[in-house]
């Protein structure tokens, strides 16, 4: 249990690293010693994460099964969760579902019963917290919530981060801000881990935004060049747009869940019908906006390709583990909110599924027109995130997280591979003009890249095949799913085709396509990189190949899998309890479908095959130069090259409008209208003062005064003759006057 109650150590280690590296700084650490601190801390964090995972596995295999008595709150500190507290005090009735239009009470009870009967041994979340601050009557905690989902992410994040750290020590060697780079890598990892472990939504906001900050710092790492700092700004501000949704969404959830931030509370109350459907709907729409920006969903994905301006290891980290999956993670975390808010069960369309499906296809189309290898990968991330969001949207929760898990490995491998290529080939990422023929020169990179590509394309038996297939099955288009989402199924199949095709295109340009075309700036022929770059590639490629076996289906092509191998991932990661949608509300797992699996594999192979024929064999003549000949094709290409004109819309239209005319108009209003009134009042006051002064004061009043003065001057002139200056003469006058006055007084008094 120690591992399960002390997960806070894991984010604490990289935080420590950040502080230490920042404080010691370049001078004390020497030009390149920061990485030892950073790597060793992340390594320890990774070991701890593995320990936690081990503890979690034994916890979930041996824990008390969720029954109607336990209901999954056994390890939740009542201090942290109102629901857990009331369950501890009043028992199960405290969370009895409230009958509403969107929750079928009977169904829920059934689910409870089912779990009880089956005695299914499921893991129960471990929640620990401490009081952070309070305001009014609300208490704010800070703590950790450990369940399958967060354990999964702990392992993925620390592993990818560790490999990226090691890789960077070679890749970024001699950089102008080496220590700074490592400091922010540490903070990046720490923020993501903090986010992953968040026990409440407020903590999630904090982690979420800190991740944004780190991406800002790292994307803009080479800020001397304007495009880089532009990209950093774009990333941060686009994310900020989504954050509005996050803020508003969590605020709505806070109030509608009865004044609690706790994830378990919110989930339980959403699940048992204690939060109104409207509140859930609005909150989930707001949160989807946040997901769209953070996880690069179509229309807010534009920052993601630009973020390639950062160093490649950072791209790998952002795309595989630390940033973009935050949105997926958040939806998965608050799943009952979305499940009930969007009525995912039993329907065939909803916002989340549509956003995901559209992103999946549109993102993959964009990858076709890129010359920059990193941009291809960036759009592929956009598209793969679309897969995950769709999975969540159609109710395939486990499939989404499973895809997140596998994707982390092969996408990290691809990015690091791209970095390796560029590192060897003159620091260019232009695969069309500056690469080519690298297959023989860089065999390790080639093989790892091909494996990862296969995994991404979904080729049997690599990891991507299993997870992608689970998502496709989950759409329920082909068999029994949570709902029947044909639209999503079709879009995703098309996207899978495109994915296979554009990844094969990349391989052609980079590794084949005749001889090497780039310029290594006097470093001789491109050659394989050292072990610090190659070893992470090999590890990631291996994982990308085998990670899919973590969730083998029970039955496939008529072969029964042994119990101890099948659906391990689902068993370990998916929560069961009153805080997660159960069978009663239509939450099911789609079975493995042979037809669909073979179909999707064929689609992917078709994508590979067509591109192979097109490039390698020079076949399919009519397709060559199609864009030059056909108006429709030209239009399509132009739209793709301009990225659907979204950048133009955002940068030139919206931001341009706000920054120039709107801000200028506001300022004009400020200076001329409001300040005009103020200055006008001032000027009127001064003008009327002038009138008063010139006419009345100087003319009338002063006239009188001046007249008096003139009179006084003239009489004074006469009188001045009496001023002899002789004191005694004055005294005579004085006493004479006094005598006269005294006389008058005497006479008058009489």
């Amino acid at each position: 249990m120690w591992f399960l109650t002390h997960p806070w150590l894991i984010p604490a280690l990289p935080t420590l690293g950040f502080v230490v590296i920042l404080l010691l700084g370049k001078r004390l650490l020497g030009p390149a010693r920061a990485h030892w601190i950073a790597i060793s801390l992340v390594a320890v964090a990774f070991v701890l994460a593995l320990g936690t995972a081990g503890a979690w596995i034994s916890h979930s295999d041996h824990d008390t099964p969720v029954t109607s008595e336990v209901a999954g709150y056994a390890h939740v500190d009542p201090k942290c969760s109102q629901v857990a507290a009331s369950v501890a005090a009043e028992g199960e009735e405290a969370i009895a579902p409230v009958a509403t239009a969107h929750t079928s009470e009977a169904g829920h009870g059934e689910a409870e019963g089912e779990a009880a009967e089956g005695g299914e041994s499921m893991s129960q979340p471990v929640v620990r917290c401490a009081s952070w601050w309070s305001n009014g009557d609300s208490q704010f905690n800070i703590g950790t919530m450990l369940d399958g989902q967060s354990v999964l992410m702990l392992v993925v994040v620390t592993l990818v981060s560790l490999l990226v750290h090691i890789y960077s020590s070679e890749y970024v060697k001699g950089d102008r801000r080496y220590t700074h780079f490592y400091a922010f890598l540490q903070l990046f990892t720490a923020s993501m881990l903090f986010f992953v472990l968040a026990e409440n939504t407020l903590q999630m906001i904090v982690g979420w935004e800190l991740v944004g900050l780190c991406s800002f710092a790292l994307i803009g790492h080479w800020w001397e060049e304007k495009p880089n700092s532009d990209a950093a700004l774009k990333a941060f501000i686009t994310n900020r747009v989504g954050d509005v949704g996050l803020l508003v969404g969590t605020i709505i959830l806070f109030f509608s869940a009865g004044g609690t931030w706790n994830v378990i509370d919110i989930n339980t109350r959403a699940n048992t019908g204690r939060i109104s459907h409207t509140a859930l709907l609005v909150a989930s729409c707001c949160l989807i906006a946040a997901v769209m920006s953070k996880s690069g969903q179509f229309v807010l994905h534009t920052w993601l390709p630009d973020a390639m301006a950062g160093p490649t290891p950072v791209s790998a980290l952002i795309h595989a583990a630390t940033m973009v999956v935050a949105g997926i993670y958040m939806v998965a975390r608050l799943y009952p909110v979305f499940f009930h808010g969007l009525s995912i069960g039993g329907s065939s369309i909803n916002l989340l599924a549509v956003v995901g499906a559209v992103t999946g296809l549109f993102g993959s189309l964009l990858a076709f027109v890129q010359k920059d290898i990193k941009k291809v990968l960036a759009y592929s991330t956009v598209s793969q995130l679309g897969f995950m969001v769709t999975a969540l949207g159609v109710g395939a929760w486990t499939a989404a997280l499973f895809h997140l898990f596998t994707h982390a490995f092969f996408k990290a491998c691809l990015f690091l591979g791209a970095g390796s290529l560029s590192h060897a080939a003159g620091h260019s990422f232009n695969m069309v003009d500056d690469m080519g023929g690298l297959r023989k020169k860089m065999p390790t990179t080639f093989w790892t890249y091909v494996i990862a590509t296969g995994a991404l394309a979904g080729i049997f038996p690599l990891a991507g095949f299993w997870s992608k297939d689970e998502i496709l099955a989950g759409t329920g288009g082909a068999n029994d799913g949570v709902g029947t989402y044909y639209f999503a199924l079709i879009m995703l199949l098309l996207a899978a085709f495109c994915t296979a095709a554009y990844m094969t295109r990349t391989i052609w340009y980079v590794f084949y396509n005749g001889e090497f075309k780039g310029d290594t700036h006097g470093h001789g022929d491109p050659h394989e990189n050292g072990p610090r770059i190659a070893v992470p590639l090999v590890i990631l490629a291996t994982l990308g190949a085998v990670a899919g076996f973590a969730n083998l289906p029970k039955k496939m092509l008529g072969i029964e899998m042994p119990e101890s191998l099948a659906l391990r991932f689902e068993h370990l990661v998916e929560p069961v309890g009153a805080f997660f949608p159960g069978h009663g509300v239509g939450f099911t797992h789609a079975e493995f479908n042979n037809l669909l699996a073979i179909g999707s594999l064929l689609v992917a192979l078709a994508g590979v095959g067509i591109v192979y024929a097109f490039y390698w064999k020079g076949a399919l003549r009519p397709l060559h130069g199609l864009a030059e000949r056909n108006g429709m094709a030209r239009l399509g290409k132009r739209i793709l090259e301009n990225k659907y004109y979204l950048d133009w819309l955002y940068t030139d239209v919206i931001v341009g409008f706000i920054k120039k005319p709107l801000a200028a108009a506001t300022y004009w209003f400020n200076q001329n209208v409001i300040d005009g009134v103020v200055n006008g009042v001032g000027k009127t006051a001064v003008a009327s003062a002038h009138i008063v002064y010139d006419q009345i004061d100087q003319g009338v009043v002063d006239g009188v005064v001046n007249g008096t003065a003139t009179f006084a001057t003239e009489t004074g002139g006469g009188l001045s003759k009496t001023q002899s200056g002789r004191l005694q003469q004055y005294a005579v006058l004085f006493f004479a006057a006094a005598a006269v006055m005294a006389g008058v007084l005497v006479l008058a008094v009489k």
Binding site: S131, W132, W133, S134, N135, G136, D137, S138, I205, V206, E209, L210, L213, F216, G220, W223, E224, E225, K226, S229, D230, L233, F236, I237, R240, V241, D243, V244, L247, V248, I251, I252, F254, F255, V655, I658, K659, L662, A663, A664, T666, Y667, N670, I674, D675, V678, G682
Partner: protein
């Protein structure tokens, strides 16, 4: 000694700077070093008393007035010399006594032209007395006197040590604020006569104004209106804000820092303590919709104003309008949650915007211009200063983990659920707009940061030997601020726990019914 301080501590902390100023007047002008030392000693002594108060403060009774002084003062008008500090005033009091010594230290080698350290520092000390007095006064006339004392030193600081248009800015500042004060004193007097309290003591007025039938509804609304104008100008709220950019742009660095960090807080503090704290809930409820709409406009408007600026200091000045909008948004909800957030926001804004002005001032000293077009590459020329600027921009845009967030986010949160009797629809609309305001905040601050710090220095400044990194007095003045920004960002409870009991009392009185 302890009992003396318990009885008179607040008077001591208020008048210590004034004593320092008096001593400095006796020292000849030529002894500049001595002048500076005296100013530093006086303000540090006030800080020491402040720390003593912080230590002796009874946090279990943070809701009630402590260290009370209540002596005869001007009997003929029933005004008493009464002072006290509770959980609302304490953070602001400490902020004040902490900022001023830092300003003095910063001024060590930075006395702006035309020099004359003696007069400059004396004015700052007088200013300190005024600000502290306003925060601890418990009598409306006493409050008003201190409130007005603040004006003159600031007028001279801007008018003598300011930029090119200093005369215009100084007069604008002075007249604007005086106009507000005029209406405010009328409101005070009306309250005095109409409530029948026959006293200017805040508690007595609070009680008297709540006696049924003491104040007609119209009278309440009008009196609140008078106070509203007075405080709204000081905050400043849209549309009374136009003095602020001019005053900030023209003021010397230290003047801007004090203006942003302390003077603006007088307005918001006045709202919490006097307008909402004294007036019955009817008036607050009538005015809350006005407050919320104006503060929301201020948030967006200030942000747009920022985007139109070409001068860095003016941009920061406009950002104050937006940030104080968040503070007022919290206050306008009339809930304990919102007012707590507002007080946090005040202190956070004081620390962060104060720092931004410090950095802007130091940049001005090095570049002799703050025109965004000409700046760039600060991170190359003076990397530490560049990172500090980046840090402050991040804090200012409300990044969680730094102080700014805890003023902004809870204020937005509170607007979702305003006090009973207020229109939820209106407040929730404003909440969403305010949340959008945070995007703008990120926009203009990062844009400013990009323009000033990223890239490479422009040719004219490429090898300028004057552009040096952070100097020692700057480090000494800035480090405490930077540490507090992080500290409050991680442990917001440090402040919320202090303000909460006092705020609950205010909110309980203001928030009920309508």
């Amino acid at each position: 000694m302890n009992t003396f301080l318990h009885d008179w501590g607040l008077a001591v902390i208020t008048f210590l700077p004034l004593v320092g100023a008096a001593v400095m007047m006796a020292i000849p002008r030529a002894e500049e070093q001595l002048q500076k030392i005296v100013a530093l000693v006086a303000s540090t002594a006030a800080l020491a008393v402040g720390i003593w108060i912080l230590a002796e403060f009874d946090y279990d009774r943070a809701g009630s007035m402590q260290f009370e002084i209540n002596r005869r003062w001007i009997e003929i008008i029933h005004s008493r010399f009464s002072m006290g500090v509770d959980g609302i005033a304490l953070p602001l009091l400490i902020l004040t006594v902490a900022i001023i010594p830092l300003c003095v230290i910063y001024s060590w080698n930075h006395i702006p032209s035309p020099g004359n350290a003696k007069a400059f520092l004396i004015l700052i000390l007088i200013l300190e007395t005024g600000v502290i007095g306003s925060f601890v006064a418990h009598d409306l006339i006493l409050f008003f006197v201190f409130f007005e004392i603040v004006l003159l030193p600031m007028y001279f600081l801007i008018g003598v040590w300011g930029g090119e248009q200093r005369q215009y800015a100084a007069i604008k500042f002075f007249l604007y604020t005086l106009f507000g004060s005029a209406l405010m004193i009328v409101a005070f007097l009306a309250l005095f006569w109409l409530s029948g309290a026959n006293s200017f003591d805040m508690t007595e007025l609070h009680n008297a104004a709540r006696v049924p039938g003491a104040l007609s509804n119209t009278a309440q609304v009008l009196i609140f209106g008078g106070m509203f104008v007075g405080f709204a100008i000081k905050v400043p709220m849209f549309p009374f804000h136009t003095w602020l950019p001019d005053a900030h742009t023209q003021a010397p660095t230290v003047g801007s820092v004090i203006l942003a960090a302390l003077l603006l807080k007088l307005g918001t503090y006045g709202f919490v303590r006097i307008a909402i704290g004294i007036m019955p809930s009817y008036a607050s409820h009538k005015w809350a919709p006005v407050l919320v709409v104006l503060s929301t406009i201020g948030i967006i408007y200030g942000a747009l104003g920022c985007l139109a600026q070409t001068d860095m200091k003016r941009l920061i000045a406009f950002s104050s309008v937006a940030h104080m909008g968040f503070t007022m948004l919290g206050i306008s909800t009339l809930t304990d949650f919102g007012i707590n957030a507002a007080i946090f926001g005040m202190v956070a804004h004081g620390l962060i915007t104060g720092m931004l002005f410090f950095v802007a001032g130091s940049m001005k000293e090095r570049y002799h211009t703050l025109e965004l077009k000409r700046l760039g590459g600060l991170l190359v020329s003076a990397p530490k200063m560049g990172w500090i600027l980046g840090f402050c921009s991040m804090a200012s845009l409300g990044l969680p983990g730094l102080a700014g967030f805890w003023g902004e986010f809870p204020a937005i949160l509170a607007a979702y659920n305003p006090a009973e009797g207020l229109s939820k629809a209106l407040f929730r609309t404003c909440m969403v707009i305010a949340a959008i305001g945070t995007v703008f905040a990120a926009g203009y601050l990062l844009w400013m940061f990009q323009r000033t710090s990223f890239g490479t220095p422009k040719d004219e400044f490429a090898d300028d030997p004057h552009i040096t990194d952070v100097s020692r007095p700057e480090w000494i003045a800035w480090t405490p601020l930077l540490i507090s920004i992080v500290l409050f960002g991680f442990l917001p409870g440090l402040m919320f726990d202090v303000t909460n009991p006092a705020v609950k009392i205010v909110a309980a009185a203001a928030g009920i019914g309508g």
